[in-house]
């Protein structure tokens, strides 16, 4: 099946009654869908994660990032505020920033030296008045009339989000109170430190990875690291939170103290019956040595913000992930591993060791990086077939059960609403 829709071929119809529980495979394959996503999602009324406030410490600091496929510069200006605008010269469209990060006084395009301020305004044009009365711009040319598009910026506990649409809901409403509380839970009032950055290149449509991050059903099935080595012996409970529009979610698990107390009472008997299912043991369990970081018993919290942001707490491994489309069949997953300024040496070491669980080589997440490619390859020639997302019913409501696809259905509900599909 060709991924490129033939010129003029109309987009197929996705039946309204399929809601988010039947998803046709063509939405992962068609160029025209991607174009629409760039326009209606990434440049529409959504909030897109761009960077950490910790990466913009001083006036003049900038980072060059992407919102969808659009290159964007995020800066801190001398007024202390954070600004974001397209990484595109007003003049002929060249990239303004040619480094990933740095500190500058302005952005002067290398092509013809048109200069832009830290807020993205055009402030200077080389040879504007010509030389010796010859050449130069027309007298009525107004520098305010051109310039890279600016983004609205929001800061949530040091996470910097941007939106191309001025009319986007305030970020608090966009996330909903419950999701916002779960960001506060991990980051509020803390000074983040970047421990490392990695870009993982996945051979699949970006939405296949987003589905995976929202899929609490697959975790114990696909990822066999914990079960093989019988590492998770504590009783766990957990649940799912889905934002009102469906597109943001939290999946979490926590130690079930009541069940643990019950177990303790019965140890004498149960000890007799404990038989290891496998002989495999990790020789160095310091890999998973964790420390008490939060006021609750939550050991794992995966939080997503529509369309493509993930905040992860896996024990003390804290990271953000940014999902970026690169055509229909490829995506970049940008990981930023996070610590905090007041970490002790031992705590920092624990975070670095726990990070063996994540990323392209992670004991737990290496499978997640591959599964999207398996789906891409498996669905070639099956564009008009659809995925079945009916585990746990058809609604998008959260609950205290993780054997559900509710949060994936939620993603599709918000996706369809914003795309008009």
């Amino acid at each position: 099946m060709n991924n490129l829709a033939p010129l003029g071929a109309e987009m197929p119809v996705w039946a309204k009654e399929d809601e988010g529980f039947h998803v046709p495979y063509w939405v992962f394959q068609r160029e025209d869908v991607l174009e629409m996503e760039n326009e209606r999602l990434f440049q529409g009324e959504t909030w897109n994660y761009m960077c950490l406030e910790a990466e913009l410490q001083s006036p003049g600091d900038f980072v060059a990032v992407h919102v969808g496929e659009t290159p964007v510069i995020v800066t801190r200006d001398h007024d202390g505020e954070i600004y974001a605008f397209e990484n595109r010269c007003s003049h002929r469209g060249s990239l303004l920033a040619l480094e990933d990060r740095g500190n500058v006084k302005d952005f002067t395009c290398v092509y013809h030296a048109w200069t832009h301020s830290l807020q993205g305004d055009l402030v200077g044009i080389a040879f504007k008045d010509g030389i010796g009365g010859k050449g130069g711009m027309e007298k009525d040319f107004c520098m305010n009339s051109v310039g890279p598009r600016k983004l609205r910026v929001a800061n949530v506990d040091g996470l910097i989000f941007g939106s191309f649409d001025e009319d986007v809901d305030d970020i608090e409403d966009y996330l909903g109170e419950e999701v916002l509380d779960r960001i506060h839970r991990v980051l509020e009032g803390r000074k983040m430190v970047v421990l490392g950055r990695f870009t993982q290149v996945l051979p699949n449509n970006w939405k296949l990875y987003v589905e995976n991050t929202k899929d609490s059903y697959h975790a114990s099935i696909l990822h066999t690291f914990f079960t093989t080595f019988e590492l998770n012996r504590l009783s766990q409970k957990g649940g799912i939170i889905v934002s009102p529009n469906g597109g943001c979610h939290v999946s979490y698990s926590e130690i079930d103290q009541i069940a643990e107390a019950e177990k303790a009472k019965n140890t004498i008997y149960s000890d007799q019956n404990i038989r290891s299912q496998s002989d495999l043991q990790l020789a160095d369990k310091s890999l998973l040595a964790s420390f008490k970081e939060f006021d609750d018993d939550i050991t794992l919290q995966i939080l997503t913000v529509f369309p493509g942001f993930v905040l992860q707490q896996i024990q003390n491994s804290i990271a953000v992930r940014q999902v970026l489309p690169k055509g229909t069949d490829e995506m970049h997953l940008k990981w930023t591993y996070i610590g905090f300024e007041d970490d002790t040496t031992e705590q920092r070491r624990a975070r670095l060791k726990l990070s063996n669980l994540i990323g392209p080589g992670g004991y737990v997440s290496m499978e997640d990086g591959c599964i999207g490619g398996f789906v891409r390859r498996g669905t070639k020639g099956a564009s008009d077939n659809n995925a079945v997302l009916e585990m746990g019913g058809r609604s998008i409501e959260g609950g205290d059960d993780r054997i559900t696809e509710a949060s994936i259905r939620g993603f599709w509900a918000e996706y369809r609403m914003r795309m008009g599909l």
Binding site: G196, D284, L352
Partner: protein, 161 residues
Amino acid sequence: MNIHVRQAEVSALISAAQARYVREIDDGDCTAWPNFFVDDCFYTITSADNYAQNLEAGLVWLDSKDMLRDRILSLLEANVYERHSYRHMIGQPFVGELEGDEVDSETSFMVARITREGPTDLFATGRYIDRYRIVGDEAKIVSRTVVLDSNQIDTLLGFPL
């Protein structure tokens, strides 16, 4: 012994160890990989950007020989991935001056990856930044920092580099 002769001997030991090292990964099953290291070793994989900025986190971050063994055990027994193999090409080691029985060394590498349904692809390039200890007539790795040239890493980094 003449210091120059000793230096040449150490370089030869490192080259020999590295040749065996890549053979174990590319043509063996990696189970002997930890044996190239001392017990209290350190092994990490990072990118040139992170390395230049002194950012500590790694894609893999192991600080004992047991953790290296666990890594291979997990890859062979627990993790799920499609069949694939590597082919390492390594450059000549750039060996520093011997300090007692330890020495710094740097070696460039290129790794191709061969996957089940795919062609042979260039998977990674970079350099090993190593500290070796000479134990008898063997060079053992005390610390290996694998610095990848690009910050973009293909979706699966299973076996060691």
